[in-house]
Amino acid sequence: MQRIGVFVCHCGSNIAATVDVEKVVEIIRQEPGVVHAEDYQYMCSEVGQAKIADAIHEKGLTGIVVCSCSPRMHETTFRKAAERAGLNPYMVEIANIREHCSWIHKDVEEATKKAVILARAAIAKVNLNAPLKPGESRVTKRALIIGGGIAGIQTALDIADAGYEVDIVEKTPSIGGRMSQLDKTFPTLDCSACILTPKMVEASAHEKITIYTYSEVEKVTGFVGDFTVDIRKKARSVDMDKCTGCGVCQEKCPSKKAPSEFNRGLSNRSAIYTPFAQAIPNVPVIDREHCLKFQKGKCGVCAKVCQAGAIDYEQKDEIVTEKYGAIVVATGFDVIKLDNYDEYAYSQSKDVITSLELERIMNAAGPTKGHLERLSDGKAPREMVFIQCVGSRCADDRGKSYCSKICCMYTAKHAMLIRDKYPDVNVTVFYIDVRTPGKNFDEFYRRAVEDFGVNYIKGQVGKVAPQPNGRLLVQASDLLDNRQIKMEADMVVLAAAIEPNPDVRKIATMLTASIDTNNFLTEAHAKLRPVESPTAGVFLSGVCQGPKDIPETVAQAGAAAVKAIGLLAKDKLLTNPCTAHSDELLCNGCSTCANVCPYGAITYEVRQVNDHGIREDRRLAVVNEALCQGCGACTVACPSGAMDLKGFSNRQILAEVDAICQ
């Protein structure tokens, strides 16, 4: 029998307002095995923790039950307190009487009763607890960054600068991401390429950074500190070592009808291509779907013109397997498809474009060489309309429920740039709310209005109707003047909602990292652990976690790097001691457990056992404690009941069931 101490927390009034804590103590004191019970204002405070230590010393406690908030909050706190007082930390159990009791019930009597039952269940469990000792696992001092946009680049640089090896895996032929597609950045209006390119160069030149472009993560196994990752390097058809990046192949390539991803399909590129001039690495890839050599079997122009002999049509995909201690997800975003918003005529008119397309049009390296012109006829627009919140803040399944956060600012930027460069062009912005929290953000927006004469109208647009004269009739609300507006425009720009890169689902599944209904990766704690995934060793950088602009992305990228460095700096990690173990007298070596184990932690060996005096060689399951993550799948699968889980044993759970059903 354990000597158990029960500590009931008031949590200020969070618990005490609904649960009669004194009464709980009074009742629990009578429970068999309980030799000490008390309540205190804040058990997690230093004083509270000292009370636990004192009781351990004075009453010789062997088991502790803390009735407090969720174990996800303070289990570690109380375990450490017990450990400092000389008790095995795994002799502590938490009864969650806040989240699961006081916060959801109003009736004091009812909540008190439930708190007592929850405490009893924890007591029943702790009675059967045994001291556990965590094992150790090694930490591979190398980090993987998935995604080579500004988030991934910044995280990689920060980790590499701390002295650790970093690999970046980027799906497209070049790093750079969305930021490389932008023309200018708010609120300073500096050119995006001018601030991004040096970072790209720095990353590629960094001796600690290896960049895998045109590559994808294919498989992830292992766990924190010791991930094993397969990376598929897609066949580039160009030898990276031989290519000098002279660009002749791209010039001579006869197939020039492939839509340029970089220019959002607004211009075409050759079949052998680098996405943009400053691409890193400056080595082209052959897009086999558009290459005449691959499609028709004849051509081979690029091989003929390549002085370096770098073209290799026979190249095959290659799988690289690498070990990592930490993984950072930085998969970024895309803008939503506008199929659900045909009232804005995006698919009917070339002059209705998204803001990202406008970035390309405004960019000197873009499809119009930086001239603002209509894509339908190349004419300069006189009247431009911007529509905000297209697909953001929607309650139906047509769009996204969230605010995309960056649109208000980039629209102000676009409006301002256009008014600056083309003062003859009238710019009207239809908005629902202008949201500009951020340093110098509102001032920026006000400048657009006050200094640049951008016409902001509060009201959404209902329909954009292409007119026979080639212009676009915009029908909108002016809510402040309470009138309906019908105005002709030459171009309409839609601030389409952003969404996480669709690939993130696949990656999250590989990493067993959780994801929310909008496909954003979930944080370990929304406020206190915002750059960590609940899955240990996985960190979040950039828009994959939620909409954010460039400075926020860079800040978060740095934070993710620090968290990863904190992990890589350790030589050993303590492993979860709640692992499975097999009773050798019950195990019949049937392999059922090994078949359900997701970690390959169970192997078999033939060993002599002494079964009540009979010695014989038997095939037995053996659990590798470093690999076992403690899910318990094997314990239920085992037909002979030999497998059990430390910390969540059959007897412990049954004892909890009994206590609850009593």
Binding site: W103, T512, T535, C631, A633, Q662
Partner: protein, 147 residues
């Protein structure tokens, strides 16, 4: 003959919640103050696949009126595949239980993510309501277990 009416009948309900999604979902229901009846008591398990049919049988034996198992959504299991095992096991167990008279309504598997506090609370309210409508469970209960 006395029949307990629904007003006075307070069912005993055991909820097994996996540590990673559903337990966190229950925590979120708590921190969002989304109430559900106190009849529900939660037992934390590492994964829904840790729940041995034996635990559920034991609960009914000891007088539980309903048992609900909550895990991560399919595809989101922290241990990759645990919830699939749980789903298969429970499908079988529940149909067997139904066969011996523990109605299907008394047992349930629900996927609740860490972000679904609302769903957790709604599910529990619904489940308690269902159990209240079914009344006390009279099957499987072991008289020797009655206190």
């Amino acid at each position: 003959m006395s029949i307990e009416t629904n007003e006075t009948f307070r069912p005993k309900i055991v909820a097994f919640c996996c540590n990673w999604c559903s337990y966190a979902g229950a925590d979120l229901a708590g921190s969002s103050r989304l109430s559900y009846p106190a009849d529900v008591k939660i037992i934390r398990v590492p994964c829904s696949c840790r729940v041995n049919p034996m635990f559920i049988l034991r609960a009914f034996e000891k007088g539980a009126d309903g048992v609900i198992l909550c895990g991560c959504h399919p595809g989101d299991c922290h241990y990759s595949t645990g919830n699939y095992y749980a789903r298969r096991r429970m499908t079988l167990l529940f149909s067997m239980l139904d066969y011996i008279g523990v109605e299907n309504g008394r047992t349930r598997v629900e996927w609740v993510s860490a972000a679904e506090g609302v769903k957790f609370s709604a599910t529990m309210n619904e489940f308690v309501e269902k159990i209240r409508s079914l009344g006390k469970n009279v099957r499987l209960g072991d008289l020797r277990c009655r206190s």
